[in-house]
């Protein structure tokens, strides 16, 4: 949250944002399932200008051995930004930001996966940000849930990520890059829609208690819509596979 350049207007007189959205409107989201051959499960998401690819491997024997947990699977999430995904080239390899994001994404998924079913294994979730446009962790987490299902990992429900924030003093949904740079608060969050549990929550900037409630509510509502997109993407894959399967049987 930069927030210092108060002369940058992020919302016009009609209450429309610089990309034309209303205060409670999401950017366009498109999810594809099963996009990779080698991985056990995979998904690709475009969310505004974000392009994020997720691969899941596992459950497989955790390595090195001392990382194994005798009573459950460990979830090893690795969030990584491609060097070319941002305006100024990022040096390859994890920086401190990526380490933190990997941690909170892994913890969020842990809330949903039935890890007790797979002791001593790891479930590896690789999240590659190919193009970044604010909200990559939320986009990555949303796609990761879908990739986990694609890999056949049993879960309570798919985790859904969404962010709200504050620009020009108003609480709005799903900040884009300029809003993130010049806005006054960002609140990335993730929930399990079925139970409404909060599994990821971070916040920076400045929100009154009332604004915070407004922001949380706004994200929760949006999560229902995103959850539907996840399900549709999975259905699309299985539908598209049916004829192929028929064909296979014919041979």
């Amino acid at each position: 949250m930069g927030g210092t350049q108060s002369d940058i207007k992020l919302m016009n007189e009609e209450g429309l944002r610089i990309d034309g959205r209303k205060f409670n409107e999401l950017r366009p989201i498109r999810i594809e399932v099963g996009v990779l051959n080698r991985a056990d499960g995979s998904a690709y998401i475009e969310w505004g200008g974000n392009k994020v690819l997720v691969a899941v491997y596992g459950p497989r024997e955790a390595f090195p051995k001392h990382t194994q947990n005798p009573s459950r699977a460990i979830i090893n999430a690795r969030y990584n930004m491609a060097a070319f995904s941002v305006d100024e080239r990022k040096r390859p390899g994890p920086d401190r930001r990526a380490v933190e994001i990997s941690k909170v994404i892994g913890e969020a998924l842990e809330c949903a996966v039935f890890t007790e079913q797979f002791p001593r294994t790891s479930i590896d979730v690789y999240i590659e940000v190919l193009q970044a446009d604010a909200g990559t962790r939320i986009a990555g987490l949303t796609a990761a849930s879908v990739a986990l299902v694609d890999a056949g990992i049993p879960m309570k429900d798919m985790v859904v990520g969404c962010a709200a924030g504050k620009i020009d003093g108003k609480v709005v949904l799903d900040l884009n890059k300029e809003e993130d740079n010049y806005g006054q608060a960002d609140l990335p969050m993730a929930i399990i829609p079925r139970t409404q549990e909060i599994v990821l929550l971070q916040m920076d900037g400045n929100l009154t208690r009332e604004e915070l409630e407004e922001a949380v509510e706004m994200s929760k509502k949006a999560a229902t819509y995103i959850s539907d997109l996840q399900k549709e993407a999975l259905m699309a894959k299985y539908k598209s596979q049916e004829p192929e399967k028929e064909g296979e049987r014919d041979e």
């Binding site: 005798p70 380490v99 909060i198 409630e213």
Partner: protein, 261 residues
């Protein structure tokens, strides 16, 4: 699958703590929203530009501030630089290891940094020596000396206390030293969810059995300036807002009683 002795002991401990918390009690006799004894000793390291030793129960950290000249980032030529680092020293616990910062240490440093940076505690615009060329760099280094739980609050409070007592060594450039320009005073309070109870300022035993962790930083106006949920369990919306309310209340008390603000 059979369980190891360790797992059985852990399970019993967890059950016990969940039970007493559910009854509104805590293992060390505190109330659910009560902090441990908090002592802050500033200027422990006179050679640094600022410092604070914090004891939060048996947790002990030492925060040192160095203020040095450096180049601004290309995209913020009119702004000083703030950088935060946490060292989870192997001295502090048998489970801490030597070597590069663990992901826990990285998260710790980033959460403390966020509370300070996002609250706009330090007025970085006033730390410019020559626009685009030279600025003051504020280094917050947090040394964990003894670990008994809740490092986020011990470090955050230590960092804020040290910054409040720090000077800019402007005599190096022929001016007079002056206090670090302070605009706000954030306080971070951390909560742990044990079973279905939320407690403030968890000690090590409580942390070990907690399913979720939540840190809430507020400023002197009662605004929320930073939050971080941790661990592989979830929280409800009600728990979130109850924690926010406690954080505002306890933060006000610490700001006044401990930080003198």
């Amino acid at each position: 699958m059979s369980k190891s002795a360790d797992e059985i002991v852990y399970g019993l401990k967890r059950e016990y703590l969940e039970k007493i918390c559910a009854e509104g009690n805590r293992i060390d006799g505190r109330k659910l929203d009560e902090m441990r004894n908090l002592v802050v000793n500033t200027n422990f390291v006179p050679r640094a530009e600022g410092s604070a030793e914090v004891r939060l129960g048996d947790t002990r950290v030492l925060v040192g501030i160095k203020v040095e000249q450096g180049e601004p980032f290309p995209d913020t030529p009119k702004s000083g630089i703030l950088t935060t680092n946490a060292e989870m020293l192997p001295m502090a616990s048998p489970i801490f290891e030597s070597g590069p910062p663990s992901e826990d240490a990285i998260e710790l440093a980033r959460v403390v940094d966020r509370g300070i940076r996002e609250s706009k505690m330090i007025d970085l615009d006033k730390l410019v020596i020559k626009e685009g060329e030279k600025v003051w760099v504020v280094f917050i280094d947090m040394h964990i000396l003894d670990y008994d739980g809740n490092l986020i609050d011990a470090c955050s409070i230590g960092a804020v206390a040290a910054l409040l007592n720090s000077k800019v060594p402007a005599s190096e450039i022929g001016a007079e030293d002056y206090p670090l320009p302070i605009s706000h005073v954030p306080v971070t309070i951390t909560f742990a969810k044990i079973g279905s109870t939320v407690v403030a300022d968890p000690n090590l035993e409580e942390e070990e059995v907690a399913s979720a962790r939540l840190s809430v930083a507020t400023n002197e106006n009662g605004d929320v300036v930073a939050m971080q949920k941790g661990l592989g369990g979830s929280i409800t919306k009600e728990e979130l807002f109850s924690a926010v309310d406690t954080s505002i209340k306890v933060g006000k008390d610490i700001r006044k009683r401990v930080l003198g603000r």
